[in-house]
């Protein structure tokens, strides 16, 4: 039997999360819901997502479905709690190298207004907005339980933003949850049922 973490089944639970420049902060996020993260630049929004994905060392109890992150390997945790960076990195030359099954994405690509022929394009020729959407798709391919999104619509126009929000909404309906960093108050109200506001000193206020 794996060591039980805090929280309930279906819950992404964070207790006393701390790392230099951030926290301690706690919140619980049931499946199907989004937590909007807001705060001034430098308050640690990206640090928070990176700590949740276990990309940087942090203290505190983080668990999913009552399973503590320490009970899984780092890679197994990150496949379930998946971080999409604001400035995503690319390890290959062309777009399709970064996907497990590029042809299967035809439908999602069309909804995000990305041409399927893009698979053969070199990464260096893509716009910031195209990269942002592709990075999201790359993460969605893993069907993670928790999506950690760092300004996923920052460089997008209204139409593309709406498409991204719709797609995330569908994932929530299928049982995922999202921690969504956005500087846009209106978007935060629209997408999220809960909000976490980081103060410049790295402490947080969670509502409701």
């Amino acid at each position: 039997m794996s060591p039980a973490g805090p929280g309930r089944v279906g819950m992404f639970s964070v207790q006393d999360l701390r790392r230099p420049g951030l926290g301690p902060l706690s919140f619980e996020l049931p499946q199907g819901e989004t937590l909007a993260v807001q705060g001034p630049s430098g308050a640690g929004k990206t640090l928070l997502l990176r700590a949740l994905a276990d990309l940087d060392p942090s203290d505190g109890q983080v668990s999913l479905d009552r399973r503590a992150r320490e009970a899984m390997t780092g890679p197994a945790w990150r496949r379930q709690v998946c971080y999409v960076a604001a400035e995503p990195g690319w390890w290959g030359e062309t777009v399709s190298e970064h996907f497990a099954d590029w042809p299967a994405l035809a439908d999602l690509l069309a909804r995000l207004r990305l041409p399927a022929a893009m698979g053969a394009s070199p990464i260096s020729q893509l716009s910031t907005g195209e990269r942002q959407r592709l990075a999201l798709l790359r993460a969605l391919e893993l069907t993670p339980r928790v999506l950690l999104l760092d300004e996923p619509t920052g460089p997008l126009d209204d139409e593309a933003t709406e498409a991204v929000e719709d797609i995330i909404e569908e994932r929530l309906a299928q049982g995922a949850s999202a921690v969504w960093v956005t500087h846009d108050r209106v978007q935060a109200k629209r997408i999220a049922s809960r909000a976490l506001t980081l103060a410049p000193d790295g402490t947080a206020e969670v509502r409701p």
Partner: protein, 269 residues
């Protein structure tokens, strides 16, 4: 074996050429004359000392003193690897990782050569062990320092690409694969180049030395080939060990990228 011995008088005659260089520097105001004389004096003293040390070691032919000399050579080479890093690892790792890889690679390959191909009696005979180790060390050292340098700079420059894979659930070796490949390539290129150019561009020093000492050219070539094979093996083994250990040190057991284990830009661990 025909072998022409040279005496002090011969050396002094040749040293006139260095004096001529110093004179040239004075005449043309190159301001190199001091450095020339100091470098010459250092070379004479260092090589003479090495001559005496080797004479003593050969006379003793003791496993203990031979091992001690071999260890000293490896430790010096390890220092050289560390000095060539732009951003080395922090703490003891800066020195330990390269040195340990070299100890492993050069040690294994030297013992392999002594126990199967060269087979002196006793097997640790310093007259064979130390020169063979020295030649393997010199090249393995270059390979390891190039490999580690490419690995650490690659980890910094391609942090986003490595972390993108880690964030998508890749294990550390997979995430590092492109950078590790590059590191191994840059570690192995010099030995590939050396093997293709040798004999055409320059006659290798050891082979030339043996020919001067009266060895038949074909015999000298065989020895040189043996040494090149050993060097290639040592460089490959040492670089793979160092790059793999480097990847493990730059990541942790949770498969996170840990660039905080690299020394700051201008510091040395």
């Amino acid at each position: 074996m025909s072998y022409i011995e040279i005496d002090l008088w011969d050396l002094s005659l040749a040293a006139i050429l260095v004096l001529a260089n110093a004179g040239l520097s004075l005449a043309l105001q190159l301001r190199l004359e001091r450095q020339f004389l100091i470098a010459t004096a250092r070379m004479v003293v260092q090589l003479t000392l090495v001559g005496f040390v080797l004479t003593t070691l050969f006379r003793l032919s003791s496993p203990f003193w031979t091992a001690l000399a071999a260890l000293a050579m490896i430790l010096f080479a390890g220092r050289e690897i560390m000095a060539r890093q732009e951003r080395g690892l922090t703490g003891l790792w800066a020195y330990g990782l390269g040195t340990a890889s070299m100890l492993l690679a050069a040690g294994l390959v030297t013992i392999f050569a002594l126990s199967t191909q060269v087979r002196p009696d006793p097997w640790y005979d310093p007259r064979y062990a130390l020169p063979i180790l020295g030649m393997i060390l010199g090249n393995t050292m270059t390979g390891i320092s190039l490999g580690l340098h490419t690995l650490t700079t690659g980890a910094v420059n391609r942090k986003a690409a490595i972390e993108a894979r880690i964030a998508l659930g890749a294990e550390r070796l997979n995430a590092f694969l492109p950078v590790a490949r590059e590191a191994l390539k840059s570690a192995l290129m010099p030995i590939v180049n050396a093997m293709s150019a040798t004999g055409l561009v320059a006659l290798p020093g050891m082979m030339t030395g043996q020919i001067l000492a009266g060895v038949e050219p074909v015999q000298a070539v065989k020895y040189q080939l043996l040494i090149m094979f050993l060097i290639a093996g040592g460089t490959g083994l040492g670089s793979v060990a160092a790059v793999l250990a480097g990847v493990y040190r730059l990541t942790d057991s949770r498969h996170r990228l840990r660039l905080d284990r690299l020394a700051p830009v201008d510091g040395k661990g």
